[in-house]
């Protein structure tokens, strides 16, 4: 912090003390203010921010101790230093107990004053840094945004907001790449457990024995290679959230063990005999049809119901095509920033390819395609040549599957061709102008939609 960024307020009824401290701090380059009593000090506090306040303990009207109370009510992080003419242990203790940074008697040795202010600035700097870091952590804790305006994703977010306030289990269902973990993190970050960790475990990624050790931890010597005691993910998730991804892939024994832990919130480490209590919320996710698995008796029905108090179904991207441009733009700005590239948009043709494509890999695939396009893009726009789709799909004849969607798309296309001329469009479409007007009204088409419906 530069001296001019630090504000020091001096509160003393003695003009000579105010003036001499004023001169002293001005010579150091600080921003300095003075007040001759508590009332004007409080007024100064409303007018400007102050980092350090030196206040006399004995003043007519409200005394220094009382003033310090009021200051701390306004901003408890302001560093206060009590100055007094007569040292008294009682008042010193009281001032310090009330949150004073230090307590000094007049006159002060110049070197002591200099050191005192240096230390006070250091304290203020640490407090400010601490506040900033907390804010940064809060921001970091907010997961990637869930991007989309489609009714389908809005409904998902409504459910997320509702379930976040509860402690019930949630099962997130959706194809691979639809953002199941993102939704789990969104629930966690909106819940009362947000200051504790969210621990993710990909159940499909471990062989059975290892998954058990990952979840429950183990004691030293519990199996060959268990050289040390190790905490499991269940313990790490204490007071937070446990996110079990690919829950459909766990063995029957694991299903039974998990069910017991979820019901009792107690477990023992592998090879251990001490029961450990844990408090966590379970969110699970799968892209498998668990109801079918239950019928085939490969997934326990009781565990399914235990995990599935709420279920959230994430629609695949092809069922919310209106969100594709938004998601693509979101990744574009995110990666452009991290790659320090000045690419700001997609060419209309490139965006058309985006909306036409079926995205079997869903959002993950959009992210990869955008990231790759950004690497190869030249200029400030992503062109068709920059795009590479891993699973090219034939271009779809229309923007939607239903008759209404096809009709709407065709009307828009012809209106685009005729540059919005209704009479010409009606003629091409072989319907009356009135019918065309009615359809335009029915599909809420506007002039703004022309040529823009892909952007």
């Amino acid at each position: 912090m530069k001296p001019e960024e630090i504000g020091i307020l001096i509160v003393d009824d003695e003009a000579s003390v105010r003036d001499s401290l004023y001169q002293w701090f001005m010579a150091d380059g600080y921003r300095v203010g003075t007040a001759d009593d508590a009332i004007s000090a409080l007024k100064k506090l409303q007018e400007n921010p102050w980092d350090i306040i030196l206040l006399d303990i004995k003043m007519p009207g409200m005394d220094g101790i009382e003033l310090q109370h009021r200051i701390k009510e306004i901003d408890r992080n302001i560093v206060t230093i009590i100055i007094t003419a007569y040292a008294s242990v009682d008042t010193a203790i009281k001032a310090l107990k009330d949150g004073a940074f230090d307590y000094v008697t007049k006159p002060i040795d110049p070197d002591d004053l200099s050191r005192l202010i240096r230390n006070a600035i250091e304290k203020r700097k640490l407090v400010t840094e601490n506040i900033q870091l907390r804010q940064q952590i809060e921001e970091l804790m907010l997961p990637d945004e869930v991007v989309g305006e489609s009714p389908a994703i809005k409904k998902v977010m409504e459910t997320v907001n509702t379930v976040a306030k509860t402690d019930s289990t949630v099962m997130i269902l959706g194809e691979s790449g639809t953002g199941k973990e993102l939704i789990a993190r969104a629930i966690h970050s909106r819940s009362a457990r947000r200051y504790f960790p969210i621990i993710t475990i990909n159940c499909g990624a471990y062989p059975e024995g290892l998954l058990e050790s990952e979840l429950f931890g183990h004691e030293k010597g519990s199996f060959t290679g268990a050289m040390y005691r190790r905490k499991g993910k269940l313990e790490m998730a204490d007071k937070g959230t446990l996110f079990l991804d690919e829950i459909g892939n766990i063995s029957e024994k694991m299903q039974m063990d998990l069910l017991r832990v979820i019901e009792t919130k107690k477990f023992t480490r592998l090879g251990g005999d001490k029961t450990i209590d844990v408090d966590f919320r379970v969110i699970s996710a799968t892209n498998k049809d668990l109801e079918k698995a239950i019928k085939e008796e490969s997934f326990r029905e009781d565990l399914y119901y235990r995990l599935n108090v709420f279920s959230i179904v994430l629609p695949p991207l092809r069922e919310r095509r209106t969100d594709i441009p938004l998601i693509a733009k979101y990744f574009l700005s995110k990666y452009a920033e991290s790659m320090n590239k000045k690419v700001t948009s997609f060419s209309p043709q490139a965006m058309e390819m985006f909306t036409e494509y079926d995205w079997p890999g869903n959002i993950r695939e959009v992210r990869n395609v955008v990231e790759r396009a950004l690497v190869v893009a030249k200029g400030n726009q992503i062109q068709v040549d920059d795009l590479s789709f891993p699973f090219p799909s034939p271009p779809r004849p229309s923007g939607g599957e239903s008759l209404e969607e096809v009709e709407k798309e065709q009307i828009l296309k012809i209106l685009n061709q005729t540059k919005g001329n209704i009479a010409q469009a009606a003629e091409i479409l072989k319907i009356s102008r009135l019918t065309l007007y009615n359809k335009i009204e029915k599909y809420h088409l506007r002039k703004d939609d022309l040529n823009k419906h892909y952007s």
């Binding site: 001296p3 003695e14 000579s16 003390v17 003036d19 001499s20 401290l21 001169q23 002293w24 001005m26 010579a27 150091d28 380059g29 100055i83 007049k106 006159p107 002060i108 040795d109 110049p110 070197d111 004053l113 200099s114």
Partner: protein
């Protein structure tokens, strides 16, 4: 051309002043004039503290400044204080006209050490330039060697140089070429650096 007035107030040994004047001229490139100004020191004396209030001395010093005075520096050898502090080496008006500096706590004898005239002169030059620097609007500088670095005890004064750092020179628009030594050598602090 405006001048810097050097005013000996209560000063037993005036022999420091010639060196001081030359050094101030070399630093600020302003002519120095030695002039007596009547100051009633008794009015500034605090019986309880047995010290002189430097703010009150300063006030008297600048009451009616000579018309050609750019700055006025009072030099004395009594112990100075400002009400909140136990002592000060000197005091100045930030971006003002007046400054005072005392040799009292610059002497080695004040600390029970054998007197050393060269050391006292060196300290006086530094403190005088420091206080005058404040009158030119300079605040304390974080450069340890700059004369505008804050000194709260006498060893601090010895640790810094008597020169303004380039940034402080720039702030008061003293060009480097002009501040180049004009043939006046100060062997005592030249040796120390």
């Amino acid at each position: 051309m405006s001048d810097i007035y050097i005013v000996p107030i209560e000063l037993e040994d005036h022999s420091y002043l010639e060196t001081l004047e030359k050094f101030i001229f070399n630093t600020f490139h302003l002519k120095t004039i030695r002039r007596e100004i009547k100051i009633n020191l008794q009015d500034t004396f605090d019986q309880n503290r047995v010290q002189y209030n430097s703010s009150l001395i300063l006030r008297q010093l600048i009451t009616s400044p000579p018309p050609d005075a750019e700055k006025i520096l009072g030099v004395l050898d009594v112990d100075l204080f400002i009400p909140i502090l136990t002592f000060v080496f000197g005091e100045a008006q930030l971006k003002g006209i007046g400054a005072v500096v005392s040799t009292q706590r610059l002497h080695n004898r004040f600390y029970g050490l054998p007197e050393n005239r060269e050391v006292t002169t060196d300290r006086l030059l530094k403190e005088a330039v420091h206080e005058l620097g404040h009158t030119f609007g300079l605040v304390h500088c974080l450069q340890p060697k700059c004369v505008m670095n804050s000194s709260t005890y006498v060893e601090n004064i010895d640790q810094k140089s008597a020169e303004l750092c380039p940034l402080c020179q720039k702030s008061i628009k003293i060009e480097k070429s002009r501040s180049a030594n004009k043939g006046f050598q100060f062997p005592w602090w030249g040796k120390k650096q």
